[in-house]
């Protein structure tokens, strides 16, 4: 299977899985503004997932469209990062997960705007404008909650510490990353690390939070080796189309 197809699945699955996670907050946000914001971010990510997966289906050339890829693949065929499938937890967990992802996503999309593949470049140029608002929002919440009460501060530090081991996977380069980077299709995975880390350290510093020094890490999502959380998420995401294939309403 082509490297580009695999790479597009990674892009699309990150957006799809995170969108599904955020959508679970709909009607349950801690404040109306937060509820609206999270579901709007979820909608942006879902739109991006559709664009990436549609193109993935075209590149694959086996007649699978965005729906077939989203609803018809098993967990082992998903290529999202482990971070985005980690549970929503309390609101601080969701905010921390979102900020760490948004900061990386923005750097990645900025790189993809220069892709040698014009379709990838135009999707990235669309998405990067949306993600800029995502990261402004999640960074602002990190700062607000980190500087809030002793309890909110402690919870944010715990959340960052818990999620930190899932962030290094993004900067690992495997054969698919290397192939796409050498073809100019995507920036090298490792090339995003310095800018991401600088943004994260700045915001954590403003939030009064400590950047973890823990260096061990979890990996596997990009190759389809997932945590137990993905299966449950896909059960909810895919139920209708698995039970009633092709159903429309």
């Amino acid at each position: 299977m082509s490297h580009k197809f695999q790479y597009l699945l990674r892009l699309g699955d990150n957006c799809l899985v995170l969108s599904q996670q955020l959508a679970a907050w709909c009607g349950h946000g801690p404040a109306l503004e937060e509820d609206l914001a999270l579901t709007n971010v979820a909608l942006d990510l879902l739109g991006q997932a559709r664009l990436w997966l549609s193109y993935a289906g075209e590149v694959e050339g086996r007649g699978r469209d965005e729906d077939a890829l989203a609803f018809g693949r098993d967990g082992l065929d998903f290529r999202n990062l482990l971070l985005v499938e980690q549970p929503n937890g309390h609101y601080g967990n969701t905010v921390a997960r979102q900020f760490l992802f948004d900061a990386w996503h923005r750097q990645l999309l900025a790189g993809l705007c220069e892709s040698s593949d014009p379709r990838i470049a135009e999707i990235a140029q669309k998405a990067v404008k949306e993600v800029r608002y995502h990261v402004e929002r999640s960074a602002g919440l990190m700062i607000a909650l980190g500087n809030g009460t002793a309890l909110s501060h402690a919870r944010m530090q715990d959340a960052v510490n818990m999620l930190w081991p899932y962030t290094n996977e993004w900067f690992d380069s495997d054969a698919i990353d290397a192939q796409c980077a050498s073809a100019g299709v995507a920036p090298a995975a490792s090339s995003l690390a310095a800018a991401w880390r600088a943004d994260v350290e700045t915001v954590l510093g403003r939030a009064g939070l400590t950047t973890p020094t823990y260096t061990g890490h979890q990996r596997g999502g990009k190759l389809g080796v997932h945590s137990e959380h993905l299966g449950r998420l896909l059960t909810a995401l895919q139920f209708m189309q698995r039970a009633y294939p092709g159903a429309q309403w």
Binding site: L36, N40, V41, G47, A121, K129, Y133, R137, A139, I143
Partner: protein, 190 residues
């Protein structure tokens, strides 16, 4: 048969006429601004008949989505088709184009004024060019300040504050006026 007859009997509508018709199609989420004034319709043109099986002339309408996940996109395409059908154009193809990406800079002055009158503050900054800050302003985030004053659409006060980066839809932020105390939507530069 009737469609082909109409096409032969009447000259094809001009581009200006078609754009005027599309000026009747409102954005379903901001029903005071048309898809023309928002800059969503990028082009209209009659398709080359060469190679087409049908002899009925086909109109191509090129649209661009405001946001990737904007749920209004499909409704807008449907509204465009139905308005054109009502004006006697049977064959309409609505094609989505992503590039160049839609920007609020394409909104017409009329659209900006219509938004304000409707209670939505129009974008203050241009999204592209010199005043577009691509860097994240950490100081502004800490203080929850916006980069520029967004005037209240009700009382025109410039003493307003950001409540949330996202309002009733992804394209809007939520603000509050410190003078008249009313919350309002702000159409974000994008």
């Amino acid at each position: 048969m009737s469609a082909a007859f109409v096409a032969q009997a009447r000259p094809l509508a001009s581009r200006e006429t078609i754009l005027a018709w599309l000026g009747e199609v409102m954005d379903p989420e901001v029903p005071v601004v048309s898809v023309i004034d928002l800059g969503i319709v990028r082009d209209v043109r009659w398709q080359d008949e060469a190679g087409r099986a049908s002899r009925v002339p086909s109109l191509l309408v090129i649209v661009t989505p405001t946001y990737s996940g904007c749920p209004a996109t499909e409704v807008i395409a449907e509204s465009i088709r139905s308005v054109l059908h009502a004006h006697g154009i049977d064959e309409v193809e609505v094609r989505t184009l992503l590039s160049p990406a839609w920007t609020t800079d394409w909104m017409t002055p009329a659209a900006r004024e219509a938004l304000r009158a409707y209670g939505i503050a129009p974008p203050v900054l241009r999204a592209t060019g010199a005043d577009n800050a691509q860097v994240i302003d950490i100081t502004a985030l800490t203080l929850r300040l916006s980069r520029v004053a967004v005037p209240c659409p009700r009382c025109a006060s410039r003493k307003t504050r950001l409540l949330s980066q996202f309002g009733s839809t992804a394209c809007k932020a939520l603000y509050q006026c410190n003078d008249c105390l009313e919350p309002f939507d702000y159409f974000k530069p994008h």
